[in-house]
């Protein structure tokens, strides 16, 4: 049954899941490809067992090792780490990180100050849209701006998404490089003590910001209707985004009187803003991109930059089971993010029990997800093979 979740029976069900459903073969090939030129056994894995026992510095040499390890230990959590210069169990603290996929972690709890439909661990169709937008924006940036091709998107199992970039250029990126990419993608700055978190200046917007705004515009009106950002009790937070006092008081007076949906209030706000700018040519410098700043603060991806900047951060593996929800961390295509429905994501219960109503649908979805993973890994293997060949050729040049 959907919704029924019991962490205690996980230990009984996981062995079957790992043996029958978890795509061991493709997983090993993905890791091996992403570890090269280092061998697969230099890749760190970590397990968290039933009683919160944490095992680090694990590694495998081939799929058979994985099979054995999974059956023996039956981990409740499976994490993937970096590739070291030696087997992690041998090197431990002294091992040096050689490479690691470029990763991104987007969690809906970082949107708690924005989303009105859910808070904390809860997630629904409405707030899932934030993840759709985030996925589209980041995917496009990684492909068009940085030229990355092997981009894996994974549902985190509860309320977020992860992104793994396996291109050689990404894997071998050092800490400053990862930091620069994280900073490039980060537009929302500031913590709890700052109300207005987006400042775009008054010069021409960078093309990546324009592109992100185009993507946001596809969803903004729908989001406004779903989330009612400008509802009476949310109006004050909205007003804090307007730093020009005269404009702010005009907007405040007008909007507080309106008893209409947020969409109408928003359009009214646009009108006030445009009139204000026309009448006060001298202040336009400071509020030139106010509309854009607001849209970005509400919709732009909120990344956990520490995950991206960290070289040896251990991140949840694709197709692992989330111990708190039982859901599978499925792989999905960025173009298909908007069609992903939380209820249709396979769970360990629905997959292993054919009496469950959703069993058929979830099994289909699971197969589809594994296929996407497979396609990505095949493409990655091909690219890696070509790269190795051209490297070999250049080294023969005299």
């Amino acid at each position: 049954m959907i919704g029924e979740h019991n962490e205690n029976i996980l230990s009984d069900m996981l062995p079957t899941y790992y043996a029958r459903q978890f795509p061991q073969n493709i997983f090993c090939r993905w890791l091996a490809c992403g570890s090269s030129p280092q061998p697969l056994c230099n890749r760190e894995l970590s397990f968290t067992l039933a009683d919160d026992v944490y095992l680090r510095y694990l590694s495998i040499s081939h799929q058979k090792d994985l099979q054995t390890l999974l059956q023996k230990k039956c981990p409740h959590k499976l994490d993937v780490g970096a590739v070291y210069n030696t087997k992690p169990s041998v090197g431990r603290h002294d091992a040096v990180v050689i490479s690691r996929e470029l990763v991104f972690d987007i969690d809906l709890t970082d949107y708690d100050e924005i989303r009105t439909c859910c808070q904390e661990a809860r997630v629904c169709e409405k707030c899932w849209k934030f993840m759709v937008i985030a996925c589209e924006i980041i995917d496009k940036a990684l492909k068009d701006d940085f030229g990355f091709q092997s981009i894996l998107w994974v549902f985190s199992g509860r309320r977020g998404i992860h992104c793994w970039v396996s291109d050689y250029e990404a894997r071998t990126l050092d800490s400053p490089g990862r930091g620069a990419i994280a900073d490039y993608l980060c537009l929302i700055v500031g913590g709890e003590n700052q109300s207005k978190k987006v400042h775009l200046g008054n010069e021409n917007l960078h093309s990546s910001i324009r592109r992100a705004l185009n993507i946001i515009d596809k969803y903004f009106e729908q989001l406004l209707q779903d989330q009612e950002f400008l509802a009476t009790d949310k109006l004050n937070s909205f007003l804090k985004l307007i730093l020009d006092d005269a404009l702010k008081s005009q907007v405040e007076t007008t909007l507080k009187k309106m008893q209409e949906p947020s969409l109408n209030k928003w359009n009214t706000f646009i009108n006030i803003y445009e009139n204000y700018c026309r009448e006060n040519g001298n202040v336009i410098r400071k509020i030139k991109y106010l509309i854009e700043e607001i849209k970005i603060q509400y919709c732009y991806p909120r990344l956990d930059v520490n995950v991206t900047k960290g070289f040896n951060h251990l991140l949840k593996s694709p197709f692992s089971i989330h111990p708190k929800t039982g859901k599978v961390s499925v792989v999905f295509k960025s173009a298909n993010a908007k069609n992903l429905k939380i209820d249709e994501i396979p769970t360990i219960y629905s997959l292993l029990d054919d009496s469950v109503a959703e069993n058929n649908q979830h099994e289909t979805n699971m197969k589809a997800a594994v296929k996407i993973f497979q396609e990505l890994v095949f493409a990655l293997e091909k690219t890696e093979a070509m790269r190795k060949r051209s490297d070999a050729n250049t080294s023969l040049d005299f």
């Binding site: 701006d145 900073d183 913590g191 003590n193 520490n306």
Partner: protein, 418 residues
Amino acid sequence: MSIFYMTPVKGEIPVHLLEVIVVQRLEYLKLVLKGENITYNEYLIEDSLYDNVGHFTLCIVAILNGNREFLMFLTKTETELFRLRTNLFSTYELRCFAKKLLKTIKKIVTELSFVNSLEILCQHLVLKHMAKHILTHAKKCCEHKINIPFKQCLSFVANRQVELSNGVALVPCSKWKQYLVSLFEEYMNYKLKTNIRRVGVDPRINNLVNRLDKEFISSLLNQSNILLCKDVDNVSKYFPLCMLNLHQTLRQKHRLSHSQRFYYTLFLKSIGMPVQEAIEFWKAEYTQSPDGNHRCSHSWEQDEKKIVYGIRHMYGLEGARKNYVSVNCHRIQSMDNCAEGGCPFKYFDDKKLFKLLENHSQISMSQLYELKKKKQYTSACILTLNNIEECDNYRFNFTPVEYFSLNLKQNLLHEINE
């Protein structure tokens, strides 16, 4: 010889002259740091022997000494000097500089990837019409562009100052000078990581290192005091605002988010809190339930083992026994997603900043806002300390721990004088 300092000059020089050159250079660089106008000094004539010798010897001294602050000082000031010098270039001088550099690059064998980018840049700068254009074009001109792999211009990428396409950054001519300076800085960082232990065996060099150590590297105030957990509330009035904020948030909500808890623990460790006191301190807070607003799911009952392990790890008693250093202002000012923390001068609304400044009623708010606008957050913070005299040394690697040490020292002196 070039002011990019890629190759050290060869030859012999009397030791006493070497000392003079190095000391002169060091004094000159201190003036550069203060932002004073670049004046004539016979030991720092561009492309001269003394200039080259002085630069490389000072690098050697910095590497052998190992003091992190000194290394940062050298990188910052040499880069600034380079920037000032190249700003004064005429078309002819720019072309000569580029030509010389291209010759040097062709001779050296290196895997350094940014040397490729330097080469591309110089190939453009050596052209007559390009050099002329660089010195006369508009501030935002993008008539000419060079293609640089994004990895070679990370600071431009991080600040979205260049357009990217397929992993290649299009650096417009208006940014070429800035790019040249950033390449110089990158090369400095590379040089200062060179392993030159063999040179350190020479007693004459050792002498020089020791002499400069005494003269420049003023020892940081020794915090041999032990901080007990019961005294933290009292002592918090000497904390810098960033740590005071964390302390107050912790007392109010009984929880801190991950990074903030990490930074605050390290801060307390650096100002003298022993590990047992730290455990008691965090226990006192985490045994209480979190104030409604905080969504932390940790509690002492459930997570004692994890929390204690984490604290002990930070004290170098577990795992890799890493010696964690307390975070510096630069890092705190770069935490874009800082939850309840961050540098108050950068990340806080005015109202919240004002509240934190309650006990600093004597400072000039207008001066503070000026500094905030100029993004000089550390300087703004230093305003809250009274009687700052020799602060130049601290400005680019200021840390909350130093703020605390200075503040404490000032107040103790004040009490003694009363």
